[in-house]
């Protein structure tokens, strides 16, 4: 039960932060939350992988917060609208969002795994 309450709070917070980011930074807000959320996903998964954090905590942070903070459908709609007049721009949008998200997620995961393997005997 408590788990569900935290999940609800985490996903509500993620969605509201994304809405505010888009409102205050109309052109870069969604990219910003996608990159931040993907970095969180990499770090949290690394911590869960190494059993530093409980898997339920990982589910709340990953599925609840990072999952709601980041979005794919908004980017898809942007590329759909760009593709009519400027297909090159749509490709750039995908590259930015997907490329940067993968990069920070990968770095976050690798950094945590390496740090833990260095610090644990």
């Amino acid at each position: 039960m408590t788990m569900l309450v935290y999940f609800v709070l985490a996903s509500a917070a993620g969605a509201v932060l994304r809405y505010l980011a888009d409102l205050y930074l109309p052109r870069r807000g969604i990219l910003l939350v996608n990159v931040i959320g993907s970095a969180i996903a990499g770090v949290v998964t690394g911590l869960g992988w190494e059993q530093v954090i409980d898997e339920r905590v990982a589910l709340i942070l990953l599925g609840g917060f990072a999952g709601s903070l980041t979005t794919y459908s908004t980017v898809a709609l942007t590329t759909a609208q760009q593709s009519v007049e400027r297909p090159g721009k749509a490709i750039m949008t995908w590259l930015q969002h997907v490329g940067l998200s993968i990069l920070v997620c990968y770095l976050g995961f690798i950094a945590v795994i390496s740090l833990i393997s260095v610090t644990t005997p």
Partner: protein, 149 residues
Amino acid sequence: MANPAPKPNPRTVAAVALGGVVGALARVYLPWPSLTFPGDPGDPLPTLVVNMLGSVLLGLIAGYATHRKWPEPLHKGITVGVLGSFSTMSALALAVSLAAAGQTSFGIASSVPSPWLWLLAILMLVGFLGLTTLLTLASYRVGLRRAAR
């Protein structure tokens, strides 16, 4: 022209929060759970399904809402809240990252030799992004036409 700082409408913020919870619960508890841990965060298939579905629905609704005077809380609650939270970029980034870190095989059979696996994974991803754009545009146009009737 001085651009005044936009003020968020409290009702819209509440609707986005509520919609965000609905979208996240649907993503995690539907038959295709995405981003569950310790499930299999390396399997991209659930995330691809959720993302395609969320994008096509968003196209449809955004197209339809263009010519309708929907109250802002309703509009943003569905588009930004439900569909925004339902679809996710972090799960996609995670599935690719785990494959890149050599932890998983991106849902591709492990019998496929490694260089081909990489080529397949990249082709899958690029093809999926292109298909998303095409289908979202198609659904957006369907929505526009429906609303114009």
